[in-house]
């Protein structure tokens, strides 16, 4: 997993362009087709995540009624009757189906054949079809619906959790960089200690010790993201608080709060937002990493990471199942990286023009 702290140091991605000398400012102002494709993809992901509950999608938890139940249920150690209960949507989970079957609830005779015409397209690990746009997973659930639902987790973990980390970190950095002295010493010691953990290990520790839930995954990401933002915003605050316009504001008797938020923050915001976009990409990958360790969002909530991990179990028989969420995660990360890079280039131009 790429590391957040690694990005704050001499930045591998930002140091890229000696092109800056040769290209004209006008040429660099044009964002290009790739940029808009990236924006479009991110917009699509955000749209899916927000409107997932009202979109006409298939169930993310219930398998296709025609998928091969015997095999799926055998994995859960469930008998035929329980499978039929589950099949006929009378039970929400295989576990409940088993409990109902044990308790003697038998499915009505006429509902046993919920799927009169099973086809190849409706089995588990299916390829895309008109019914299942991106096929089905190893439990016969619709992959497309799960991808869209997974976008919600990706954005919560990415945009929201990293956003919380960004706000916290930027505040710490602004205060430390503006007031200097003991305040800075104390705050930056904490930041350095937090940065002494490798990011994924810290996230693992937080989720492992606090328990597996969406909130704890987000909390871990937010905590891991904070120190990077603190360092970044402190270093820009240091350069800006020496500038003439800050001095002018001070001479005019502006309060500390006004200077920090009205004079310094707007200047610090640009590099912070550029870093934010990259950090979102890193967080989405981190969720995938946690999923592989069984520490991401608990089932049945689908996330891209848990989908990849589920699909990985059947990679030898049906590589397509793992390919879909992997590609979606890759393209999303790529899009955020690309937008972040462009943003940073724009920012550098502005900096140079000052």
């Amino acid at each position: 997993m790429p590391e957040i702290s690694a990005q704050t140091e001499p930045d591998p991605i930002a140091t890229d362009s000696p092109d800056a000398d040769t290209e004209t400012v006008a040429k660099r102002k044009r964002m290009g087709v790739t940029f808009w494709i990236a924006i479009g993809w991110v917009a699509l992901v955000v749209f899916g995540a927000i409107f997932q509950p009202i979109l006409p999608l298939q169930s993310t938890t219930k398998p296709d009624p025609c998928s091969t139940y015997a095999a799926t249920m055998a994995n859960y150690g469930i008998s035929g009757t329980a499978a039929q209960l589950y099949n006929n949507s009378q039970a929400d989970s295989p576990r409940q189906a088993q409990q109902m079957a044990d308790a003697g609830t038998k499915p009505p005779a006429d509902s046993i054949s919920a799927c009169p015409n099973p086809t190849l397209n409706s089995k588990t690990n299916a390829f895309p079809s008109a019914q299942h746009w991106l096929g089905t997973d190893s439990a016969g659930r619709d992959t497309f619906a799960r991808i869209v639902a997974g976008a919600k987790v990706a954005l919560l973990v990415g945009l929201v959790a990293v956003g919380v980390g960004m706000i916290l970190g930027t505040l710490i950095g602004l205060i430390a960089g503006y007031f200097r002295g003991a305040v800075e010493g104390i705050m930056m010691t904490f930041v350095d200690v937090a940065l002494a953990f490798p990011a994924l290990i810290l996230a693992i520790a937080i989720v492992a010790f606090r328990g597996q839930s969406l909130f704890n995954v987000c909390l871990a990401i937010a905590i891991v993201a904070t120190p990077g933002f603190a360092r970044l915003s402190r270093s820009s605050t240091l350069t800006f608080s020496e500038r003439e316009f800050v001095m002018a504001a001070r001479v005019m008797g502006a309060s500390h709060r006004r200077i920090i938020f009205r004079e310094i923050l707007p200047n610090v915001a640009l590099p912070v937002v550029a870093f934010y976009l990259l950090a979102v990409a890193i967080a989405i990958v981190a969720e995938g990493g946690l999923a592989f360790l069984g520490l991401s969002v608990p089932p049945p909530t689908p996330s891209w990471g848990t989908m990849i991990q589920d699909g990985y179990n059947v990679i030898n028989d049906s590589p397509f199942v793992v390919m879909v969420p992997s590609m979606v995660m890759f393209v999303t990360v790529l899009a955020f990286n690309y937008i972040g890079d462009r943003f940073r280039e724009r920012f550098d131009v502005k900096e140079a023009a000052l």
Binding site: P12, I13, P18, D192, I315
Partner: protein
């Protein structure tokens, strides 16, 4: 003199960071819900104490079966023993054991006690019905992890240095453009996704290599071939970062007068590139190489789980699964220590290598 002072300061910082990290981990582990004594006592409670209580609608029969408790987090785990059996007897047993294990002491006392032993390599014993010492487990898991990390590091340098030199030399030409695009793609490609693609191509379709780890003892050749995919998956992302860094620095170096001088002397191009330009261009690469140790540790953990390599990553996930907190704690502290040490070493190495920094 300056260097010695700097080294000393760095070492102090290292010690401070390790203490802080280990204390934080200790606090995190201390605050976990669930009582370690409950896990140890579970066996005894099971045979000694008659029980039978209702939890979330399920009646638990404690005959020959272990008491099943629905854990607050929703997973089934041996947990709050007190709520399963007759309260007074369990509580008394737990308290006695808790005192014996020192768990009734304040956190700080517990930490000092733990740290004092940890310095001597004694990381305590596992919370288990049959407690085992933690350190031998870790020592056993270290070699495969180190092997994978070292192979990935070496591989990333082998890939990135020639490509970085080439891209700088052919700046803005076709080769450079292709490399720039490729490195952008590989930076964004998560290592586990890359591993999945490689498995699909080389294992599922071609059947060329095995995707399940084979230890050293079963043959070095086999061992290396099973490490090929995880090592490549780990190194390509790092390699593209290094390639970019080297390219940027090298382009700047190639404009220097001493390169012009070397060229004027009629030295062959490859010699100028490797002997004259490479060393002064490699500083940012080295810095990031050191920082990347942390990234690599995270990646290695995931690779170990994916390829069933019985290393540190596998051990920590197993320990998480069975809630074996002393082991998790020891591993987290160990990894943090290695990470901080790598950062400090890079710092020192950097100032030793670059005379401009040494004399600044």
């Amino acid at each position: 003199m300056r260097v010695a002072r700097k080294v000393l300061l760095s070492l102090l910082r290292l010690a401070g960071a390790v203490v802080a990290v280990s204390f934080l981990t200790f606090l995190l582990a201390h605050k976990i819900p669930g009582d370690p004594t409950a896990i140890i006592l579970q066996d005894k409670v099971n045979t000694m104490v008659p029980c039978g209580s209702v939890l979330l609608g399920e009646t638990v029969d404690c005959g020959a079966l272990a008491p099943k408790v629905v854990h607050p987090r929703g997973t089934e785990a041996p947990g709050a023993v007190t709520s399963v059996c007759h309260a007074d007897r369990c509580v008394i047993a737990s308290d006695a054991l808790r005192h014996q294990m020192g768990l009734d002491q304040p956190v700080l006392t517990q930490y000092v006690h733990w740290a004092g032993k940890a310095i001597h390599g004694d990381f305590g014993t596992t919370y288990d019905t049959q407690p085992q010492p933690v350190w031998p487990q870790i020592a056993q898991a270290l070699p495969p992890t180190l092997e994978l990390m070292i192979i990935a590091m070496v591989l990333s340098l082998i890939i990135s240095i020639p490509l970085g030199i080439y891209a700088a030399y052919r700046e803005h030409r076709l080769g450079d453009r292709i490399l720039t695009t490729a490195s952008f793609l590989f930076v964004a490609l998560p290592n586990f996704v890359l591993a999945i693609f490689l498995i699909i191509i080389f294992v599922t379709w071609m059947g060329a290599v095995q995707s399940v780890y084979v230890p050293w003892s079963n043959g070095v050749g086999k061992n290396l071939s099973t490490l090929a995919i995880p090592a490549v998956a780990l190194s390509l992302g790092m390699a593209s970062v290094y390639q970019r860094l080297l390219r940027t620095d090298m382009i700047a170096t190639l404009q220097e007068d001493f390169i012009l001088m070397a060229r004027a002397k009629g030295l062959p191009t490859w010699r100028i590139l490797t002997r004259h330009a490479l060393r002064p261009s490699s500083f940012s690469l080295l810095t990031v190489f050191g920082i990347n140790v942390g990234t690599l540790i995270g990646g290695t953990v995931i690779m170990e789980v994916m390829f069933s390599i019985s290393g540190i990553g596998k051990l920590i996930t197993k320990s998480i699964y069975v809630r074996n907190y002393p082991t998790i704690q020891a591993i987290v502290v160990l990894i943090a220590a290695v990470y901080v040490a790598a950062n400090v070493l890079t710092d020192i190495f950097y100032s030793v290598l670059d005379p401009r920094i040494r004399h600044a």
